[in-house]
């Protein structure tokens, strides 16, 4: 499931954002980068745990289409997206995004956009457990507003 050099990884395994970022910075296509922006999403401590499910095949395909658009829109040198699925504990990394570009504005905007997309448009479903109770989490109005910022 985790081929080296892949742009998009969906994995039930724990991952280390800093190891991923170090690897990404050394990709050949990132050699001319002046800016690398990374985002790491972590499970907050309010819940006892999170469970993420996805739609195998479809989820990857949709994320890839979106990421290709981001790649072109911001003329990125490279990007990397990792999304955890399965059961997670507080402080576990859930999601990691990195983008490299010659100048900083492009990398900032691309990572920000990709994250807004993953939050409200990618095919993941999140369940939270608190005090023995499990409930489905759905996108907040804020998440939908965030994504609208990117409509051209």
């Amino acid at each position: 499931m985790r081929l080296r050099g892949e742009n998009i990884i969906i994995t039930p395994d724990r991952f280390d954002p800093e190891v991923e970022l170090a690897g990404f910075r050394r990709w050949p296509q990132c050699a001319g980068a002046g800016a690398i922006v990374s985002f790491t999403g972590l499970v907050r401590g309010e819940a006892d745990g999170l469970t993420l499910s996805h739609y195998p095949g479809f989820t990857e395909l949709q994320i890839e289409k979106m990421a290709q658009q981001a790649m072109q829109r911001w003329s990125l040198l490279g990007y990397k997206i990792i999304h955890r699925i399965g059961d997670m504990r507080p402080q576990d990394p859930i999601v990691f995004i990195a983008a490299a570009s010659p100048h900083r504005r492009a990398a900032f905007e691309a990572v920000d956009f990709i994250m807004d997309y993953l939050k409200s448009q990618a095919a993941f479903w999140k369940q939270e457990t608190r005090g023995g109770e499990t409930r489905w989490i759905e996108p907040r109005c804020e998440d939908m507003r965030d994504l609208k910022r990117w409509s051209k």
Partner: protein
């Protein structure tokens, strides 16, 4: 055989289904009516606002065509990250 999948909140209503669709079912809309009649647990869950429907990995609307070879996915509102 069509494959019908349910994700998120909807996965609690039904396991995946392998079904021979009746010949008169031509659209997503028709499929939903048929599913609700034959699988009472799905009643009123499928048309919930915010759900998405994909046929063979393409997001579609209620008027889209379905056939007996399709993979049809019903997805409750998404939440990643």
């Amino acid at each position: 055989m069509a494959v019908i999948l349910f994700f998120g909140r909807l996965s609690e209503l039904s396991a995946p289904l392998d079904i021979d669709l009746p010949k008169d079912i031509k659209t997503v809309d028709g499929l939903i009516i048929w599913l609700e009649e034959n699988y009472p647990a799905l009643k009123s869950g499928l048309k919930h606002k915010g759900n998405r429907i994909a046929v063979n990995h393409e997001i579609v609307d209620l008027k889209s065509l379905v056939s007996n070879k399709d993979e049809i996915a019903f997805m409750s509102p998404l939440s990643g990250g």
